[in-house]
């Protein structure tokens, strides 16, 4: 059986959490947060950051899908 990404059902490496595309989106999300936080004088929470990104046209679809997945998991826990 092929291991599938929980977001898009595309094959993923067993050790990874997501497929290559969503891993790349995760990497970009982590990289951009310090810049966003600095831009808003260190007052931006991670959840606010995610919500702002969901409303922007520039945010990629894979990044948005990942954010929705993370927010859903966060709300479920």
């Amino acid at each position: 059986m092929v291991d599938l990404c929980p977001i898009c059902r595309r094959p993923k490496e067993t050790a990874d959490q997501y497929c290559a595309l969503h891993l790349s989106a995760l990497h970009n999300l982590e990289l951009a947060y310090p810049q966003w936080n600095k831009a808003y004088s260190g007052k931006l929470s991670q959840t606010e950051y995610y919500k702002k990104l969901l409303h922007l046209n520039e945010t990629g679809e894979a990044a948005k899908a990942l954010i929705r997945h993370v927010l859903q998991e966060f709300e479920g826990s």
């Binding site: 059902r9 989106a25 970009n28 600095k38 831009a39 808003y40 990104l53 894979a62």
Partner: protein, 699 residues
């Protein structure tokens, strides 16, 4: 009397060659097996001018085996009608050429002088004219004008351009080996698991091209923007309002942006510095094919393949030179003055030509690129013999204006910058304008420059910040390719040829790997590239493809043998294909999900059933085999909602709604016809209204 057989590439070209060789420009027609050829009889020579229909021969497996069988390493050149379905015309043409070739003692190849043209001529002379390739002469020309065709006929090259033909053969054979083996490996792997037949293809150039698009798509989809602020500033200079920009441009923090606004709002500034510089804009270079395709896309919105097809029509109409060229050179031998005189007779160019004759340069501003076979694209100066369609007129105008502008003088533009100091902050006011127009008016609507004129200013003058406010902006994802920029990327990466690149882009659309004009990769394209990267990265590696391309170019120069490259290709492909075959199950499983999803998406409508709310699907009646839109609620709630569909043509569900009833629109495409977009719901409603009308009495 000697009979000479002249072989041309297309019927239109045959007519032009025959007209050029006939004294009264009215060659006789002969009908062979229902095919029209031309005949010219001189006192010493009977000339028959026959035409092909593009390629009449193609590569095919030596043995006839199932279409799913692979790997296939043995092949031969066979008549196209034997290899492909629906090529009945080609069969008639081959038989007609075979028949006329029996009487001929002298053979002349008058196909287009490039790799494809040389291959078309070579295969016809070798296979249909029973080995006449060895004795045939070669005409070399770049326009279909009578003067050039006569010169090419009376001064032919002593033998065929075998290097070009062999380079073409090698390209076809290598591409066939790649295409058939890789595509069958993918298709069979998918079939093994899904039990559903889906044509999946990849190829030597297709793979790396698709990879460019998928990689760009990945960047766009995984893109996370970051914020920055700009200051929208307007400065009052002696009552005239001018836009200004803050020296920092992009400000990374909202607090800093707000602080600058606070410090500058309503303040008086001083013009601390005035800068002005002029720069020369040399005239554009003559058009090679890719520049023509790029300009046609940019200014006229024509896709590269469409632009090429129009250019070929204009070439066949003797209006422009051969368009499949990489050259940016226009040698004096084309006769600049004669062309200009011809263009002066066409309405709209008279004044420009007259102006050029007085003030223009004697030679064009040539570019660096060269092509040993043809010069750059230029108008022949001939007048159109028929009324051109709108798109043809536009492309012709682009070619003419580009040609004229290459003879124009350099233009001069001026940029102006004023620095305004407001406390510790600096703002810039920028302007630009054309001082000497030079070649710009000659290029007409295709040369656009925005002029911004600044008011008169002096250093030390005071100005007022009329308004300033911060604007939140975000970094942008990389832009999507369009057909023109993708073509440019392929050219820069040196993959494919000027003749094949546009066609490859089209194939990627047809396979369902790409969608939209701003090219987006579909989920199927992602899967194909993921699988190829995982199991055979070499076939999507640009370097590998480029190296092969270079080797094939060496054949054109006579520095490499076709046989050696084919041997190398098979040597490189064999282990890859064997490995793919051993992993069919695994690859099939990876493809299965996406194929099922794509298939379901292709038959499931985005609008729900108006009766019960269940989803609607395109289905086929198992008894009558007729297709229609049916409701999936049939089994749950016995919903009987259905809509009729056209029974012929390929259906595609569009992401568009009917303006009348908001039902999802469907596109029907049939070969040789324009796609038809229709609403199944409105069609059914109108049909019901007509059916309910009382039938008219005959009395």
């Amino acid at each position: 009397m000697t009979t000479t057989l002249v072989v041309t590439e297309k019927p239109d070209a045959a007519l032009h060659v025959a007209e050029a060789l006939s004294d009264d420009h009215q060659p006789g027609k002969i009908y062979v097996n229902g095919v029209t050829f031309f005949e010219i009889t001189n006192p010493n020579e009977r000339i028959i001018v026959c035409s092909a229909l593009g390629h009449l021969y193609a590569v095919a497996p030596t043995k006839t085996e199932s279409r799913s069988h692979y790997p296939v390493w043995e092949y031969a050149w066979k008549p196209k009608h034997v290899v492909e379905r629906g090529q009945g015309r080609q069969e008639k043409w081959i038989k007609a050429i075979e028949k006329v070739s029996k009487d001929a003692l002298r053979f002349v190849d008058a196909c287009d002088y490039d790799v494809e043209g040389s291959l078309i001529g070579y295969t016809i002379l070798k296979y249909a004219c029973h080995g006449a390739d060895a004795q045939a002469l070669r005409m070399k020309f770049s326009t279909l004008t009578g003067k050039e065709l006569r010169a090419a006929y009376w001064n032919p090259l002593p033998h065929l351009d075998f290097e070009l033909a062999f380079a073409g053969m090698c390209r076809h054979e290598v591409d066939w080996l790649y295409g058939i083996n890789l595509s069958r490996a993918l298709t069979q792997s998918a079939f093994k698991v899904s039990k559903r037949y889906t044509t999946l293809s990849t190829g030597r150039v297709q793979g790396p091209t698709l990879r460019f698009i998928v990689e760009r798509e990945k960047e766009i989809q995984a893109f996370v923007p970051t914020p920055f602020w700009t200051l929208r500033t307007r400065v009052d200079v002696d009552g005239q309002i001018v836009d200004a920009e803050h020296e920092d441009g992009h400000i990374e923090s909202q607090a800093i942006a707000e602080r600058i606004v606070k410090e500058c709002r309503g303040k008086i500034g001083v013009i601390s510095k005035l800068d002005s510089s002029n720069y020369r804009l040399p005239p554009p270079t003559p058009l090679d094919l890719s520049t023509l395709q790029n300009e046609a896309y940019r200014h006229l919105g024509y896709a590269p393949r469409y632009a090429l097809s129009i250019a070929e029509r204009l070439y066949l109409d003797q209006l422009i030179s051969y368009p499949r060229t990489s050259s940016q050179k226009l040698p004096p031998s084309i006769g600049y003055r004669e062309i200009m005189n011809g263009l002066a007779k066409i309405g709209g160019y008279q004044q420009d030509v007259a102006g050029l004759m007085i003030t223009g340069r004697v030679t064009p501003n040539e570019g660096r690129k060269e092509d040993p076979a043809h010069p750059a694209i230029y108008p022949t100066g001939s007048l159109p013999k028929r009324s051109l369609g709108l798109d043809e007129q536009r492309l012709f105008d682009l070619v003419v204006r580009r040609f004229l502008s290459t003879f124009g003088n350099a233009a001069t533009r001026q940029t102006n910058k004023a620095t305004v100091a407001v406390g510790q902050h600096k703002f810039y006011l920028r302007g630009s304008r054309t001082i000497e127009s030079g070649w710009i008016p000659l290029y007409g609507p295709y040369a656009k420059f925005d002029d911004v004129t600044l008011p008169p200013m002096r250093e030390g003058q005071t100005v007022k910040i009329e308004s300033i406010r911060p604007e939140t902006r975000h970094t942008q994802p990389p832009s999507r390719y369009n057909p023109s920029s993708l073509l440019k990327t392929m050219e820069d990466a040196e993959i494919g040829t000027k003749a094949t690149r546009a066609e490859i882009i089209d194939t990627l659309y047809k396979r369902g790997y790409l969608k939209d004009q701003r090219i987006a990769a579909t989920p199927l394209a992602f899967s194909i590239i993921e699988i190829l990267s995982k199991y055979c990265p070499k076939v999507i590696d640009t370097t590998f493809t480029r190296e092969l391309e270079e080797k094939m170019q060496h054949i054109e120069l006579g520095e490499e043998s076709k046989e050696r490259i084919i041997k190398e290709t098979i040597g490189a492909l064999k282990p890859i294909i064997e490995d793919l075959k051993s992993k069919e199950q695994q690859i099939g499983e990876e493809l299965n999900t996406i194929i099922t999803d794509s298939w379901l998406a292709s038959i499931t409508l985005a609008v729900p059933c108006p009766k019960c709310g269940s989803s609607l699907k395109i289905v086929k009646n198992p008894r009558t085999r007729k297709r229609f839109i049916g409701c999936t609620g049939k089994w749950k709630s016995n919903c009987s909602f259905s809509l009729p569909l056209p029974q012929k043509g390929r259906l595609r569900l569009l992401n568009k709604r009917c303006p009348e009833c908001a039902f999802q629109l469907i596109q029907v495409s049939s070969k040789g016809r324009r796609p038809l977009i229709s609403c199944a719901n409105c069609y059914a409603r109108k049909r019901a209204i007509i059916a309910a009308m009382p039938s008219k009495s005959l009395v």
